[in-house]
């Protein structure tokens, strides 16, 4: 006589908390998720194809627009790939500045993640606090390269120019004040009963599932898998810095939160070391004016704030790549969403999406 019906519901692409234009097809039993299917591609711009008709220096601005929350990591990965293809050795000062930029970018990206994640869980004030500090970082970037979102901050072979006068002091000032600011967020969240209730045990990703699905970055490390590209395959002289790779134990949303919080602290540690040991000298290696890498293939990975960001270039001849391919961490990590969400409640979906920290520009390319 009575039957229970599952309710299909479309979450997105216009929805306040799918972080852009992600669309989720949810099948609900009451408020419990019985099936979840991400639908992507709403932000697909065909960047990989566009690259085939751009010279190598012209591609770098395109990489800004992949993961627009952490454009410097993309710049770093792309330039690294081309440099590896050409066999160029980047001067140490440029490498150190690149590390500072990348780590500042990691902090900025994690701050954006933290703000929106807390916002998804209803804690609105954290968002404004994190944006206050993100603003400081963006000011630093603006002072360095003139842009606040799409930086185009590096050049193949190093940097466009050295940092402006006093810039290092401003960075040092930032990492001096940042720990106390981070404590403010932690006061609002880490021991908050409601926050823990919303995150502990929610969206558990088992380490074996994470590896099988190709998940990387903080999302994987929260499950206890010790894999950080900066340690596993060091680039841009990361091997010269001392830092810990924070690991989680349970792989739940709360662990992912803790891992990212700790990563911000470790980033500050790396920046401090880089500032202390900053080498003098050139910031750009000698590269030809027209960049024509030798024929061949190269794959270069960096640890972006979201995970393993890979760049695969096939060069046949001339100034443009024959084929360009990005390994987008958001895209791969998003695969884990159904695994993490099944059997959870609809409110957990937003918590889990927030904790994967996807950027749709990165995911859809």
């Amino acid at each position: 006589m009575f039957r229970t019906e599952e309710m299909d519901i479309n979450m997105g692409p216009q929805h306040p908390s799918t972080h852009g234009v992600l669309r989720l097809k949810l099948t609900l039993e009451g408020e419990v998720i019985s099936d979840i299917r991400p639908v992507i591609g709403y932000l697909h711009r065909g960047v990989e194809k566009l690259c085939e008709h751009r010279t190598y220096p012209m591609i770098e601005p395109l990489t800004d627009r992949l993961d627009y929350v952490a454009a410097i990591s993309e710049n770093l990965g792309y330039c690294g790939a081309v440099e590896k293809l050409m066999g160029v050795q980047v001067p140490p000062r440029a490498q150190y500045i690149r590390v500072i930029l990348a780590e500042l970018q990691r902090v900025a990206s994690h701050l954006l993640w933290l703000g929106t994640h807390a916002l998804d869980l209803g804690a609105m004030t954290v968002f404004f606090y994190t944006f206050r500090e993100r603003e400081l970082i963006l000011d630093l970037f603006e002072a360095f390269c003139g842009a606040r979102l799409t930086y185009n901050s590096m050049r193949i072979g190093g940097l466009y120019e050295d940092v402006p006068a006093g810039w290092f002091d401003r960075v040092r000032h930032f990492i001096d004040i940042f720990p106390s600011r981070e404590k403010e967020y932690e006061d609002l969240l880490t021991v908050n009963r409601i926050f823990k209730g919303r995150t502990v045990g929610v969206g558990i990703l088992k380490p074996e599932d994470g590896i099988a699905l190709g998940v990387s970055g903080p999302t994987l490390r929260a499950s206890g898998v010790n894999y950080d590209v900066r340690v596993a395959q060091p680039y841009s002289s990361y091997e010269q810095f001392q830092f810990d790779v924070p690991l989680g134990a349970n792989g739940d949303t709360y662990d992912r939160y803790l891992v990212r919080m700790e990563e911000m602290r470790q980033s500050c540690r790396i920046i401090r070391q880089a500032l202390e040991r900053m080498p003098q000298g050139e910031v750009r290696a000698k590269v030809p004016k027209y960049i024509k890498p030798p024929a061949g293939e190269v794959y270069h990975v960096v640890e972006s704030p979201r995970g393993e960001q890979g760049f695969y270039i096939v060069q046949v001849a001339g100034e443009m790549p024959y084929r360009m391919r990005f390994r987008a961490p958001s895209f791969v990590n998003l695969q884990a969403l159904p695994t993490m969400c099944k059997g959870q409640m609809i409110a957990d979906v937003v918590a889990v999406i927030g904790s994967i920290d996807i950027v749709l520009g990165d995911c859809d390319r």
């Binding site: 908390s17 004030t125 209730g197």
Partner: protein, 345 residues
Amino acid sequence: MSQELTRVLIESGVKIALFFVIVLTLIAYLTLAERRVSAWIQDRRGPNRVGPFGLLQPVADGIKFLFKEAITPLNAYRPVYLLAPALIFVPALVTFSVIPVGPPVRLFGYDIPLQIADVDNGVLIILAFASMGVYGVALAGWSSNNKYSLMGGIRSSSQMISYELAMGISLVGVLMATGSLRLNDIVQQQAQRGWNMFWQLPGFIIFLTAAFAETNRLPFDLPEAESELVAGYHTEYSGMRFSMFYMAEYANMITASALLATLYCGGYHVPGLARLGLSGNVAALLGAAAFGVKMGAFLFLYLWVRWTLPRFRYDQLMNLGWKVLLPASLLHLLWVSLIVLKGWV
């Protein structure tokens, strides 16, 4: 018409009009206060452009709401869709009518109570109208014909039913101490024996929590949980109809704060005021001011909590309501009855 009847009619009419003006103004400025307080908490400035200190902002908001297009979705069930905003707004306002704002003042040779209706069953009337608020929310959710709205409506109805229970039972503690359902008696009793807030602390906390849930404010704002349900039950509303929901939320907050002040913080009672030997009207005004201050304190608490805490999840909310607050309120009731029986207070 007898003269007495005319007087009562005029008195009530004036009081109702005054009350309307005051509460509606309070709602308007509460929205501004919310934005200013949130800005203060969040280290930014908030609206400060319209008029001095942004004081004309509510007017600008009102004009904006009036001129916005009021959209009715194609598949909405129109009569109910139009009825729902009124259904939520009216109970929120009516509840205020039985709350005593201050002791009676003497004007033109009459004792005029600062309360629209001094009824014997004041507490019950408040509960009755508070329970009516659910309909607006549930019907808005249903009639919009939108899944998010429906879920918001369902959530809110179950949430409000669940928390009404704990709220009612903790209220019984107050009633037992007073032995009356009249709000004036409750205030008088607190003036004699100390505020309920102190010796009925558990009941006060339970009532406070339930009041947050009843008004759908963070951390219990699940029916309109923006991050999950877009805007919950009022997703499809726009223009003035939306602002009805918006104002109803603030009206509910004001009522709840007034209720908290009356039931647990001695209402218009000011400790030690009687000893000063002020004349009746001055004391009455001071009492009304004290009531305003107490109410304001609770309103500030509402704002403060909203901008500090994250949101509960639906099942956690239900667990809190049924497995924590309900047993706690029952235990509290036992405790209060023991005290009352033994005559300790």
